[in-house]
């Protein structure tokens, strides 16, 4: 009966701390910067050429690189995949490098899903319990006639809400800024998605053409899901470590390790079970060659879900059982 009130408390604490405003500022500043830099770069890059010609030139450059023979194994895999992808776009007469406000929004989902959104999720979740320990308020919070599981559940709901708002806000800001640079129309344009490697080459059977807005909703849904799972893990570190700095540090280290590891040790297959390897869900969905064989969007989503559920179960168990001696 009092649960909405508990969630209201947690939201109040979020809103009254500086954190929320900082996240809003980061998003606005970062997206503004990306749009600005990208639109500048594009003008120089395209130089008014027809996109068919431009794409063919790019394919020729890649083929030269492949023939050269000095390309590392992983790069070759990527290069063949990219060739197939570009060929496919030419065949369907869809510009692979088209840009519009909506396309920028769509691209932002991929770019943000493996570092920016997880980072912001960590900012929210990693101190939601530890801050109460640091302030000493945990002693008040846990001596009310409200069970500990409900206290933690209210915090979890608030964290999930904050992450959801952040993802939505990121999308809206990307649309606003992207629209200024590239125009606001074009939601109905077809996009090719589902590029998946079957063995060495692209699997043409998996490629689909769908309306951009559908594709965007799906991509944000996946980015949101990934960010929520990060939130669940950050909540666990917050419960376990009881120190915001330690919790944030741990999560950041894991995140950074996850972006480096597939590049440094692509042959170590077991890493596909690691949490961070599975974060770029939108990438796996729209189709880039999987950094590790067997990493599909379904596999990645299931792995993230398993990690999140295990993290939450542990967090609740520890939070309910452990003595508060701080």
């Amino acid at each position: 009966m009092r649960f909405p009130g508990l969630v209201e408390n947690e939201i109040l604490k979020f809103a009254r701390q500086r954190r929320f405003r900082v996240v809003v500022l980061i998003l606005v500043a970062l997206i503004g910067l990306i749009v600005f830099a990208q639109s500048r770069g594009r003008q120089r890059f395209l130089g008014g050429k027809d996109w068919h010609v431009e794409t063919q030139e790019r394919m020729a450059r890649i083929q030269n690189g492949l023939r050269d023979g000095r390309m590392p194994e992983t790069m070759q895999r990527w290069a063949r995949f990219e060739l197939d992808r570009l060929q496919y776009h030419l065949g369907r007469d869809v510009n692979p490098d088209a840009i519009s406000g909506p396309l920028f929004v769509r691209g932002f989902a991929n770019a943000a899903s493996y570092l920016l959104l997880p980072l912001l999720a960590i900012v929210f979740a990693s101190d939601v319990v530890s801050a109460e320990f640091a302030q000493g308020t945990i002693k008040l919070l846990l001596t009310r006639p409200v069970g500990r599981a409900r206290v933690l559940a209210s915090k979890l709901v608030a964290v999930l809400l904050a992450i959801t708002l952040t993802v939505l806000f990121g999308g809206v800001v990307a649309y606003l800024f992207g629209g200024i640079a590239y125009g606001y129309g074009g939601w109905e344009a077809p996009v090719l998605t589902g590029f998946r490697s079957a063995g060495e080459r692209l699997d043409p059977a998996a490629v689909r053409s769908i309306a951009l807005w559908k594709d965007t909703v799906l991509a944000y849904g996946l980015a949101w899901f990934a960010a929520l799972s990060v939130g669940a893990l950050a909540l666990l570190t917050s419960v376990l470590l009881r120190s915001t700095a330690a919790a944030m540090g741990t999560m950041l280290a894991a995140l950074i390790a996850g972006t480096i590891l597939p590049r440094l040790a692509p042959s170590w297959e077991t890493q596909k079970y690691l949490f961070v390897t599975n974060l770029p869900l939108p990438d796996y969905y729209s189709g880039t060659p999987a950094p590790i064989p067997g990493l599909t969007v379904g596999f990645a989503a299931a792995t993230l879900a398993a990690w999140a559920v295990a993290a939450l179960a542990t967090a609740f168990f520890v939070f309910v059982k452990r003595d508060v001696l701080a």
Binding site: L142, R144, P145, D323
Partner: protein, 321 residues
């Protein structure tokens, strides 16, 4: 039931009872077999030096820590089984009154009222008046003095209309005026509203002035418990102070009756002096007759009432507080 209960002269209903509480940290026993009852309308003091196990005991009373043995009952409800129901009767401050500094006093109270049954928020204006914070209620807690935070903490503890108020070292860090305010508030809550109040302290004088009953805890064990007066009497009963001349002779005569020593600084040039003696009550008349027969002039005899401090030194074996 527990020993403290049987010693008590209070008639109020038992609101909180600690039964054989034991807590170990590794091999160290922080609290060992601590039992007591707190009754409605009384102020119960929990006295001990820092590190004696007071805060650990309080953490068990409010469910922050789980006892290894024993249990806590609040209004008959087992705290570990009926946590939510039991805590509905409790208001508490554990250690410092840590509130959300970035929120105002009112926001803090609203925050905690949302964790209570409906209606708690309506008590905020009345409680603010009670703890004299009405005018500063909309200022951020970060601007409050320690005394104001302590009072806001008490208002927070009273939000749920508790039957028992548990305060951990409420006098800590307060100036004498602040300590007096808290003391008056605590006495008022117990006598006018019939709330049972549990106060821990390492300040003996404070407990003596505020509490009806006291339990003394030392190294995790309760060494003595009972009504404050009764405990004081236990030590006070054999303490005498005499003013006599010559003091030296008086001391020699008194020696067979019990321990005696001259309070050195009070020895006058003519041999008159103050003597502190510990003579059992029933031997006092004989001792006085012996003094008179021995040619000692006795100017005054008084039974000195020990302070709780002496009780404390006595039961803890002289450990400093």
């Amino acid at each position: 039931m527990s020993t403290a209960g049987t010693l008590s002269g209070s008639s109020g209903e038992i609101v909180l009872s600690a039964e054989h509480l034991t807590k170990r940290f590794g091999s160290r026993e922080a609290v060992a077999d601590v039992s007591f009852d707190v009754r409605a309308g009384e102020v119960f003091g929990f006295l001990g030096p820092n590190g004696a196990g007071k805060t650990t005991t309080i953490r068990m009373l409010v469910g922050l820590a789980r006892p290894d043995k024993g249990r806590v009952r609040i209004r008959g409800l087992d705290l570990s089984r009926d946590f939510e129901k039991a805590m509905g009767h409790v208001g508490c401050i554990v250690e410092a009154p840590d509130l959300y500094k970035y929120l105002t006093g009112r926001e803090n109270l609203l925050h905690f009222s949302r964790m209570l049954p409906a209606g708690a928020a309506q008590r905020i204006p009345e409680l603010a008046r009670l703890v004299v914070l009405s005018e500063r209620l909309d200022d951020k807690v970060s601007t409050y003095s320690l005394g104001m935070r302590q009072r806001l903490g008490i208002a927070q503890a009273l939000l749920g209309n508790p039957d028992i108020l548990i305060l951990d070292e409420p006098a800590n860090g307060l100036d004498p005026a602040g300590i007096r305010e808290i003391r008056q508030l605590v006495r008022h809550l117990a006598s006018e509203r019939g709330i049972a109040v549990f106060v821990s302290s390492h300040l003996l004088s404070e407990v003596e002035l505020t509490c009806d009953r006291v339990a003394i805890i030392h190294r995790g064990r309760t060494l003595a418990s009972g009504p404050v007066r009764e405990l004081v009497d236990r030590v006070a009963s054999d303490r005498l102070r005499l003013i006599a001349r010559p003091a030296r002779r008086a001391m020699e005569i008194l020696a067979p009756f019990g321990a005696a020593e001259i309070a050195a600084e009070e020895t006058g040039a003519d041999g008159e002096g103050a003597i502190d003696a510990r003579i059992p009550k029933e031997k006092v008349p004989d001792a006085l007759r012996a003094l008179t027969a021995g040619g000692v002039d006795v100017f005054a005899v008084e039974r000195s009432l020990a302070s709780l401090e002496e009780v404390f030194l006595e039961v803890t074996g002289g450990e400093t507080v």
